[in-house]
Point group: D2
Chain length 348, copies 4
């Protein structure tokens, strides 16, 4: 039974704590939060858990084997590093850290000590994303042409990071998991509309090795909630709509292919058009696992700790995503000027 | 009764011809198309109209007062210029021409001769766009923050222009009509997936005078048809979904505003968040005119000819849009590198 | 080339006339309508067709081989009978006649003369209904449990028939085509809300031979348009949503089956529940033919005339449907009191 | 602080227990369930609560002021009666009891002892139903024409009651709360498709005093989940779609009215049609309270106990609904034969 402490009991922390308490193999050993109201709620809900104001108390507790860091992003690094140095395994809410430099230090520290370092890229653990990876891996989509995602709603404005560091993380994590293609360059545009707040809206284009492109549209200030991703390929296309209560993933047997006829550049338009075949076939919505993603993730964390396995969303995923966030933020400041992503890790 | 000839009876021409035949005040005088099959269909449908292979025959016909050009884009300029020089009024399918230079020449020619020059920016004549302009003009939306449009489907690949010149035109025309804000710079990214075809997918960001931004997502190779535009403002937000059979335009009384409290930079996150007010109010779908947009447009064309009025979508609109298309195409080639739009006309 | 005359050029007649003019093998020979405006529209659209005030002129015309009757229901019988007696083939807009007695006389007259008698049950000719019949026939649905249809909108109130005779006809025709099951009894309820108008809302239950049931919800006074049919079976279930622009037919691999364990009546609830297996499998939307149903139907009419074949929606279908309409109307007056349907034809 | 015990910790009981623990003014004092697994889950979640196998232990506990009965329906009466006799206030999951007779006895017992008796008609406490009642009460809908509800999905088959006693209860409770119109007669049809299970599908028509009608379509064996209610009125119409994540209630300014012209029975169809005005106006989605309905309900229960107020869904509502369930079940057995509802309470 792995004893787990949770630092941060604000918006996302309660979900993590609940999953720790429900998962096989883990025990909710402690919760820390600066806010007295949060501690009161935590104590009422988990009378058996140790409730603390300071995260240091959890780090110092020998009954705690692993720490989950669910604080605002700017504190991730300090807390996670202290926990690793105290010999605790660590799971960090996304993004893993405020910079690629910080992420690198955490990875090194965990590696040196043989500890599990994992980042909470929750979507990777959903039935939908698992199925999409399976479809892509087995070739059902063919060559990947593009990934195009819209992730917008009237959301909580963060005070310390812009919308890219909040919402685009999800897509970058999914991309990393599903496509395994190295990004070469990024162009991003965006704007902030509320005085004193960071950018609340951004559009990002990633140029991937092999020719595919990825587009992300993220927005905290939209009137409606949209969570929809299109994946276009040479054989089939996928629509993943996370707002749908059922049929979240649909596979379209649709596309365009070039006919094998010898093309004459002299041919009039009408004829040239005929040389493209438009395929409009069936649509298929595979049944998906309905197990809660966060619970799956916590059980995976426990499993990695116990078996010494590499997590599906380990420190390297976290670093990968943060590197892209840094590149996108740079490009955003320069109104879309493309930023080369040198030194990105090779596709695994 | 204005006698009107239609050049091009392929995909869009039949709709124009039908509206000419149905509109008050116009008479379908002739149709020209290079394809024998197209001419056969035209003759069967309009036994009273003159059917010709060569557009020159219509230009030379004194019974024809005005010409509609519905050919592939690359022929717009030559045909329209000849028609103007023959003293005919001209309506040109979008985009008005292949370049800003060509558009400028057509505008000059029409002005010199006192002829009506109009571009077929159909969406401007829909009940939906009319209502949106009305809402924006009367201040219902407040300060415009952004325009964000997705216009994708599995569409006909054009052979002579990329997707920007086909689909983005619609949004640029709507923007021009609704917002009246001068674009300052453009960043565009995109890709082509079918060998030998131009780019079939693009994402465009426009930086507008006054601080608003506009985003366009256009795609010929998408598995589903989406036609949805979000307009965010300081007072309200609009969603325009053209695929919806009814309730195409919805007005959301939602938004975020900064509370008037004095903010302390020392305040913890939880408190700073409270200083933003999230407003979640009613939603309202105004009833829209259901008159066919193209019929409205043809009647407006006839009216402009008869009354000597300036069209809502005259040559200047056409030039404006083509200038943006040129800027976006340049940026696309440079992977999002922003292109300054010098010399764009002042907001009217 | 079959010369066809169309009687009635009001709401539906123009569609029939257009399809006659477009179909292979037919020629639009004449149109009759009492209204001068309708005749004016018809003449402008079809300058080559004979346009008459009185239907008798078409019946008397030897150049007309077949007549389509698209008038209000109460005139169907008189016109169709006269046409048959004049040796014309006849296609009648639904419902075929005002009573089963009238329908029987038309069937007899057509049979005696060896003429084609067909009823315009348009939905039978859609790609959607064709696919559904195929799925049901090949056993994909298993044993049919139920057919449950909602067909409502803010529609044109008819003055001479209630909503059952207008909207329920569509479902009764689809049922007849897809299920081939003899109805045994009918219960119907309903109400009229507009003074002086017949019932504008009704709910009908049909008890079918073999144990299946069919439910129809029809309404002229609904705020939204819904056209959705559920077909439940022992193996799969179908949802047919005619308002959807694509994916009109979806096949759900879902259902409930009884487990093969020996059931103990003593078993507590929780255990008894486990004995039912809930199956939640994939969803599949087959690609459908997009050919216009009415054009398919007119070509089928011409084909039946030329080949002497029995139509898919011949007089017997028309009679079948009218018999059900009469039964439902009787039950409606008695607030749901079930009406036995004696003498309905055997399932074919 | 009211001490509350919950009997039954299966499907719905955990939600009730959670709300008791979260509500202001109540304390979760005990939970009883026959199943060891349920008791284990309850104990882990609520270490401070008394966990018992037998409900009698809670009834006998003086620290428990009120009991919530969340068992299968057939045990409601016995447990509730014992609790009332022990001087406890009682809240019963819907339906209140297995028969009108039982419901009457509970009402009498509670009245005699001055105890609060309430039934868990959860939907009455939703923001949506609260808003609908407000709209109806203030006359926004005008005269009520009809209530038409579809409540279907692939749901848990109950072993002791048919689908009417499970799903139709919700609509009957909403109807009782929103319309205040006395039902005069009921016609119901339905079928069971799974051997050994009660009817899983039913259609019910209620004839209401004043001329309105209500229609309910309930089904445990549907491939998709639909929760949609239409309310038609002389001034406006409402669509309540509970599956929608937002905009659950929409108000349509649509309808049909008879023009004030003198009608001639001789007038031809086309003219008579013009005498009906079809109104197609705006659509409006009011913002709704998003507070959890069950929490609102529990707080109302506590408030009624403390203040001695009559609950919004008291014993009389429970009896009213059960009386309708009995009538509908009778009619169902007779294939729609209408059942008069004599002795229904007067509209309040």
């Amino acid at each position: 039974m792995i004893g787990i402490g949770v630092v941060g009991y604000g918006y996302w922390g309660p979900n993590l704590a609940r999953c720790v308490s429900e998962a096989e193999g883990s025990r909710l050993a402690g919760i820390a939060d600066l806010s007295p109201q949060a501690r009161k709620r935590a104590a009422a809900r988990y009378p058996a858990a140790r409730i603390e104001e300071q995260w240091q108390s959890l780090v110092a507790d020998p009954a705690i084997d692993a720490l989950i860091v669910a604080t605002p992003t700017r504190w991730h690094f300090e807390i996670a590093l202290a926990a690793l140095r105290a010999g605790k395994h660590v799971l960090i809410e996304k993004p893993i850290a405020s910079s690629a430099r910080e992420a690198g230090i955490l990875i090194e520290e965990a590696a040196r000590r043989g500890l599990t370092l994992m980042v909470d890229h929750t979507f990777v653990y959903t039935g939908a994303v698992q199925k999409i990876r399976e479809l892509v891996s087995e070739g059902a989509v063919g060559d990947i042409y593009y990934y195009d995602s819209t992730r917008i709603n009237l959301g909580l404005f963060q005070s310390d990071v812009n919308v890219i560091w909040d919402l685009a993380v999800h897509d970058l994590a999914i991309l990393d998991y599903v496509l395994d293609a190295r990004p070469l360059a990024v162009s991003a545009t965006g704007a902030g509309h509320i005085k004193g707040s960071p950018e609340n809206m951004a559009h990002i284009t990633l140029y991937l090795e092999g020719g595919a492109t990825a587009y992300l549209n993220v927005n905290w200030l939209a009137p409606v909630k949209i969570r929809r991703t299109l994946i276009g390929g040479s054989r089939r296309m996928i629509v993943y709509d996370d707002v749908e209560p059922s049929e979240k993933v649909k596979v379209y047997d649709r596309g365009v292919s070039v006919a094998e006829t010898s093309e004459s550049p002299e041919a009039p338009d009408e004829i040239r058009r005929l040389l493209l075949n438009y395929r409009m076939g069936d649509v298929w919505a595979p049944q998906l696992s309905v197990k809660e993603a966060l619970l799956t993730e916590i059980e995976h964390f426990v499993d990695c700790i116990e078996q010494g396995k590499a997590p599906m969303t380990g420190g390297a995923s976290g670093l990968h995503v943060v590197t892209l966030l840094e590149g996108a933020s740079q490009s955003l400041k320069r109104r879309g000027h493309p930023v080369e992503l040198v030194g990105m890790r090779q596709a695994s």
